[in-house]
Amino acid sequence: MTTSNSSENDFRKRIGYALIVAAVLLLVLMVFFFWQVRSLRHNQSLHMREFRLSHLLEGRTPLPVSETGIIRAWMTFEYVNRIFALPPEHLRTTLAITDARYPRLTLADYAKEEKVDQAVFLTKVADAVRSYLTPTSSTSTPRP
């Protein structure tokens, strides 16, 4: 009985220590979390959009020319075409892409295979997107 009680007390003591450690950890994490949310607000980068059920069912409208900055190396040509609603052949023609895997090819892979600097290539892609979305540009492809 005494052995059982001492083991029970020992168990309780260990759980108590673990409780204190967990509580301190929780406090630290919460401070970090609120600090991060505050800095997000401070940088005015809370971009919550209006949520409509119809968007879930129908999808969204294409991105405007001001959003070309979101183009990243991990994106595929197919994805870039889709989000900016470009004609499927626009990027291939403008950037003179001959790779047979186009458009199911990432921008990073293409830049690597062509031995082009990734940042330079991303700028070229953004320019090509802008050239289509800005009708007054001299290099723009005529919209269908």
Partner: protein, 196 residues
């Protein structure tokens, strides 16, 4: 290219197959940024690149299968391993086993929202012999709610999902520690009652 970028490239190239495979691996225990992925996939759905509901279905199936894999493994081989490590003789382990079995349903449910703590709970649930029906029911319900929240948030914030991935990871850690705290408090309460 970091791991998230690599995963997103695969998601864009192979869509639901890549999503299912990556989420299944993350549910088992492979440390992949599943929450950031879910946010991005919600954003892809908002841009019309993925179907929101089908993505959700794939995520639920992948997460549940991954969790069941963990549970099944320790349910089948766990006892042998604990005997090999002589854990079955340790009083602390015996106590913990008993306590976890008492709080099985709520523990399984809550840990689905706690990132990698979920995989650890799966292994423990199999090890302590949580009934299959209890595990499966709680796992499935939480595995519908959690991806729905992450995908929904990604859908709402859209192209700015990257700004929120750190916050979501931190929030997951807070939930994980809160769950641990809650379980420990319940165990402590019961132990105190017994020693009184």
């Amino acid at each position: 290219m970091n791991i998230l970028s690599l995963l997103l490239s695969y998601v864009l190239l192979y869509k639901y197959v890549a999503i299912g495979f990556a989420l299944y691996l993350s549910a088992i225990i492979v440390p992949l940024p599943a929450n950031a992925m879910m946010l991005a996939m919600g954003a892809f759905a908002s841009q019309g690149y993925l179907d929101f509901w089908f993505t959700l279905m794939v995520a639920v199936v992948a997460f549940t299968l991954g969790d069941l894999t963990d549970y099944g493994l320790t349910r089948r081989y766990g006892e042998r391993v604990t005997r090999l490590l002589r854990l079955d003789k340790a009083k602390f382990y015996q106590h913990l086993q008993k306590e976890l079995r008492t709080d099985a349903a709520i523990t399984v449910f809550l840990t689905r929202f706690a990132g990698s703590l979920s995989s650890i709970t799966n292994f423990l649930a199999g090890l302590v012999g949580v009934p299959f029906q209890t595990f499966f029911a709680m796992d499935l319900i939480a595995n519908i709610i959690e991806p729905l929240g992450a995908l929904g948030l990604g859908f709402v914030v859209g192209d700015y999902w990257g700004d929120y991935s750190n916050q979501l990871e931190l929030l997951t850690s807070i939930i994980a520690v809160s769950v641990i705290l809650f379980i420990l408090a319940r165990i402590y309460q019961r132990a105190a009652r017994r020693t009184e």
